[in-house]
């Protein structure tokens, strides 16, 4: 078999300064090129994946029915559709809120998300309480905490009446933060 020999400096022979410089340069070149490749691939990747965090969505006023549709003193669930949802969101674009008509012209709209860990609270009309199925959070009819682990009252939507209609300002899922 033919032996192919390449004139590599053997470990025994010390490298010349030129060889050292050339090798160091080639090492740095390879590392630098790898960095450029990683950046070309990585920057758009990170931007694409993390992008939604920085996408600002502003709440939009949407109508949820006539004022007369709601009975004074009653709390009812209202289904809304996220106006800024992606086209393929399907039924996940839907959302719900609890709407309470306090008197002739005053409404309160509560987020359905328990302020403990976001589970959907249910309204028990006769008990006059909201209850959370996950960890047992309980709220009074005005959204204040009655019992259980929720750290703060139910979050309220902005609500207004205009032209005989009740309008809600859409908002993000309220996230309870520590700091």
């Amino acid at each position: 078999m033919n032996q192919v020999t390449i004139d590599h400096p053997s470990p025994q022979r010390p490298l010349t300064p030129e060889e050292i410089t050339r090798r160091r340069f080639l090492e740095k070149l390879c590392i630098g090129l790898s960095g450029i490749c990683a950046a070309i691939l990585g920057i758009p990747l990170v931007g694409f994946v993390v992008g939604p965090i920085f996408r600002k969505t502003t709440g939009k006023w949407i109508s949820v029915g006539n004022i007369t549709d709601y009975e004074i003193g009653k709390t009812v669930s209202v289904t809304i559709s996220d106006p800024s949802s992606l086209p393929w969101a399907g039924i996940t674009a839907k959302n719900a809120l609890w709407l309470r008509r306090v008197n002739e012209g005053e409404f309160i709209a509560f987020s359905v998300n328990c302020t403990h860990l976001g589970c959907p609270v249910r309204w028990l009309q006769d008990a006059d309480l909201f209850m959370c199925p996950c960890h047992g959070g309980v709220y009074y009819s005005d959204g204040t905490v009655a019992a259980g682990p929720p750290p703060k009252p139910l979050i309220r939507y902005d609500v207004r009446t205009a032209n005989g209609q009740v309008q809600i300002k859409t908002m993000a899922i309220p996230i309870t933060t520590t700091l």
Binding site: V49, V50, P52, I53, R55, T57, S77, T79, I80, D82, S85, L86, P87, W88, A89, G90, I91, T92, A93, K94, N95, A96, V112, N113, H116, L117, G118, C119, P120, V121, R122, L124, D126, A127, D128, L129, M131, P133, C134, H135, G136, V138, Y140, S141, A146, A147, G148, P149, P150, P151, M171, A172, I173, I175, T176, T177, T178, L179
Partner: protein, 482 residues
Amino acid sequence: MKRLVVGTWRWLDDRFGISHLIGPSLKHLVPHDARWWYVFGSATLLAFIVQVVTGVALAFSYASSSSQAYETLQFITNEAPFGRFLRGMHYFGASAMVLMVGAHMAQTFLFGSYKFPREMNWTTGVLLLAFTLGMGFTGQLLRWDQTAAWSVVVAAEQAGRVPWIGDFLAQFILGGTTIGGATLSRFFAIHVFIMPALIFVFIGIHLMLVLRHGIAEPPIAGQVVDPATYRVEYEERMRKTGRPFWPDGAWRDFVVGTGLIVVIALLAYFIGPPKLDDPPDPSILNADPRPDWYLLWYFALLALIPPQVEGYALILAPVLIGILLLAAPILNNRGERAPSRRPWSIAVVLLSVIMIGALWIQGARSPWSPNFDPPPLPEKVVGATSGPVFEGAKVFRDRGCLNCHLIDRIGGRRGPDLTYVGDKLSESDIVIRIVNGGVNMPAFGSSLKPEEVNALVAFLQSRKRSLRTENRAAYNKNVATH
């Protein structure tokens, strides 16, 4: 024919160098007494292979679109050939992987196998445990039903508690500010690409380290690990008493592995995959989200942590557990390996099992959750068909008391059992509790009418041991006679 096969194999083996490549790994020496305790690692690997195979099969029909995933899951479960079975295999394979990785870790810890020079074996194993649990959670979310959708919200809320960057993390999880089109596809990418890739890489490193440092022998009391001499002593012992992994050690892995696959298949066939809940419609509020069994203990923990420290515990506890696990071999990498000389190691494993087991049982019972649909109290339990006691029983149910309290095993478990409350509290005590509320109980003073309070008090006062169900009829008859 045999000649042809053998010849072909030899030719391929020569050209590819298969025997040359894996031969030394298969023949590496393992301790002669490494027997049934040593099967959990390979069983975990096999469970992972089951997950990869069944996961790839499911991906042929699963659409990772928020609007279509639920329908494709229904198709897989109800119409596709073997679809139900494959989903079942994937679910029970995940359960097996969690169980086996837990058993492997406990065995490694008890045997002190994480000590010198296998510190990094342990560390990579801890990371693999984290990835396994991550796969379990993200996998549950791909079962894109109502529970999955709400679980995403719960995950986002938990991430939201991380100081300073919580809001960003929550939005990252949701893929925006609400559940929507971007939510499911990112969990699909994480579950199907990112985490499996990480698991493959770390399994590779883990196995490479197993080959590099050898399998730790079963510990013997008095045989201490001294980093200065351990390697020489281990090699010497292997030379004298070691056995080649193939087939002397491997046959047990094959026996247990086959048993594991058979059990997974039987469970998948007879029990089937977890039932799909309602569609992932966030406007349906009759939801009761629960994690799969392997995270049920954490679900319970979130209910039982005192609210005052919950914010810290949510974030610090997992971080501390992670640091402790990762640091274990650095803090203690020499000395005795035998559990008999390290009783605290037995205590740690036992306490962990008891703690997780107890939380798991609590999570399964969820006594803190209200019973949203209790049946009416039967006449036999109420003990009256008219009058204040009867009216009080009606108020008790209508006003939500029965959602949280038990009467003769009917109702919720969130509050105290009131079956015999009449023996414990006086009339004034009961009134005060109802009107002002109490520990973890809402105040009903502003929502109940005075006559309702009176009726409730009459009903609750009649809940006495002396008036047990069987005596109540006679009591009523007696009252009627007089």
